[in-house]
Symmetry: C2
């Protein structure tokens, strides 16, 4: 089948898998993740990206959309290991104009890199951490340079409520008024998308897509999930994602596929929505559209790139096969992928990774961990609620 | 770690994995599952049980509580393959008194079987398919013969509402008035347990436990899940389960463990509940209590039976290990179990099953499938809403 596409992650955060468990998102960011990320070095990012790519290739992921810091290191790992990626250098307004400039420089430097396997985006963090002037400037840069934009927006309902209180508009309306909906934009999460946002999204002149990573919404006990049915009704593609492993605990898009189907049934109250066939459509063609590669990936067909996986369905947990879509989505697991091929090159054969050395990565990452996890300095990147430097 | 315990399943239903997808429970039972089950033969049950035991042993399950038909065949498979099981022959009042008698005969015949690996229970189907007279007679038999009872009750909120409309009492109150709460009773699901039921459960003189199988509740789009926090507050153990694979699509208790933690966070709105450590406690010690083996299983300690699994955490998806409980619950997958040991006997070593021949089972099951799936006869066991013979 076509390889899975992880439409929104922070790959190097696998280094922080399990460091901040069972916390509300505010404490997760302010007390652990941002203090730890203030220690990050390029080498940490490189090792994290290697580990993440190993996990994704083993889980049947052939392309990922990454949104993080020190992204030159991630681009180098993508070049080296053979996976496909859509990369953006993240920035906050708290970094001043230099953040936005670096994001542009990164996008222009790596566009078309790794023999065409790398595409790039401008990557403002979110409307609650990047101000309107910065978002407007980003939209202008996107149009000028023909670049898409990848950002978090309306992550949860609380953000929508706070935005309405402070600014009188929703985060999606902020995207419109800053011109971002006139660019090709990939919105991560959108669980805070409300009724009034649907007409706004429908009126976008750019290509708009949403990435859903349902596990994290459960983990943070958010009251809503991505409104896939409503987005489907207005023609907005919804790709599947894992977010970073510090919140999702894995980069398992196979699990995202099953959870998306299950959580959609639960939240709509309709067991007929979303079916296994629809889940596969989101994981492949809609995800390809979400990362701007709708004509290139997401299907096994002449003219498409050879990004594909072989799945072993002979295990007792996947037998008998009465309904192939249900078997793939609800019975198979990421570890049933035996072979992963990207751009015609075999990256894993019979569960053996051919381009990455996991033990070496794990060893060096372990040595660096005390320095990475040190929070004694009291620094953190900024404050979650206010978006101000902390 | 201790092997996982599947506290409620219908193991042979793996034969029906994927036959009835994306349907409300009423259509699932009436239009597909019961018509197909009216074709079931002992040989189908035997082959299904073999496939199920293979799946569970590979997924780190060392004991399962089964509730189905033609259970002599399941007992024979348990004897042969080395797993531990808590078995009950299911019955409906639509079968007349013979159903209840057969359930008793089965429980007495197999109690202590397979060198002590088999324990047994009386297994009325549910308060909506077994009438009060039958439930009362079952409670008497349980007391007379020192047997526990395993049944479905308050599966969903709709059942509770219908029970209140028809009888003025909840399904849990039906268990009390028929004397079942004065026996040791394992209640499957309980997503329809309401506030007034908590005092009833607290007042039970028997040992009461609940089994939760959260995947199915999502699939059927039920509005609630098992109220684990409230049950925890009144000291009722909650074990983990998968239900049958015709609704759950797998017998993956590892997934039940992760989903239980995630869905509890979502439904309580509290990201601090239920933690990975608590999920492990439910999967091991609380599950052992749920199947009546709280002093025997569920921990690695002197005097306990040697039911244990080895888990490989060296894969890229489980590295680094910052929080062992989180790694086990949220990053590891059932396929990371490399070795499964029951009662000191190795049943799987390095992912190789030592007591079951999966290809042979799959081959014969495939040959039998046309006869098993035939619904041309128009028969079904009974009607879901009324519990009356169809």
């Amino acid at each position: 089948m076509p390889g899975l596409i992880n439409c929104h992650t922070h790959a190097p955060m696998v280094a922080l898998r399990g460091v901040a468990e069972d916390l509300p998102i505010e404490e997760w960011f302010n007390d652990v993740v941002w203090p730890v990320e203030s220690n990050l070095t390029g080498r940490d990012v490189e090792l994290g990206a290697r580990l993440a790519c190993a996990e994704m290739i083993r889980g049947g992921v052939t392309c990922f959309a990454d949104h993080y810091f020190a992204m030159d290191a991630v681009a180098a790992v993508v070049e080296e290991c053979g996976i496909r990626a859509h990369l953006g250098e993240a920035y906050f307004s708290s970094q001043g104009p230099r953040g936005r400039e670096r994001s542009l420089e990164f996008a222009l430097r790596h566009r078309g890199g790794a023999g065409g396997r790398i595409t790039t985006a401008l990557a403002p963090h979110a409307p609650y951490t990047v101000d309107d002037a910065d978002l407007t400037a980003t939209a202008e840069l996107a149009r000028t340079h023909g670049l898409p934009v990848h950002l978090h927006a309306a992550e949860n309902r609380d953000q929508t409520d706070v935005s309405l209180d402070r600014h009188g508009v929703t985060p999606i309306e902020v995207l419109r008024r800053t011109g971002l909906l006139d660019t090709d934009v990939l919105i991560a999460h959108g669980t805070g998308i409300v009724e009034r946002d649907l007409a706004v999204l429908e009126g976008a002149t750019g290509r708009v897509a949403v990435a859903t990573a349902p596990r994290g919404y459960l983990r943070f006990a958010w009251p809503t999930t991505t409104p896939i049915r409503a987005l489907n009704d207005i023609g907005v593609p919804v790709g599947l994602a894992t977010d970073g492993a510090a919140s999702n605990n894995s980069l398992d898009v196979w699990e995202s596929m099953a959870l998306t189907a299950l959580i959609q049934k639960q939240t709509t109250g309709d067991p007929r929505w979303l079916t296994s066939r629809q889940a596969l459509h989101h994981a492949t063609l809609q995800s390809a559209r979400a990362v701007g590669l709708g004509g290139t990936l997401g299907a096994l067909a002449p003219g498409r790139r050879a990004d594909l996986v072989l799945v072993d369905l002979t295990g007792p947990h996947t037998q008998p096969v009465h309904d192939l879509a249900a078997t793939l989505v609800h019975s198979a697991r990421s570890c049933d992928v035996t072979t992963t091929i990207v751009d015609g090159r075999v990256l894993m054969r019979d569960r053996e990774l051919l381009t990455l050395d996991v033990p070496a990565v794990v060893r060096e990452l372990g040595e660096r961990m005390p320095a990475l996890l040190d929070r004694g300095h009291g620094r953190r990147i900024q404050d979650y609620k206010t978006g101000k430097p902390a």
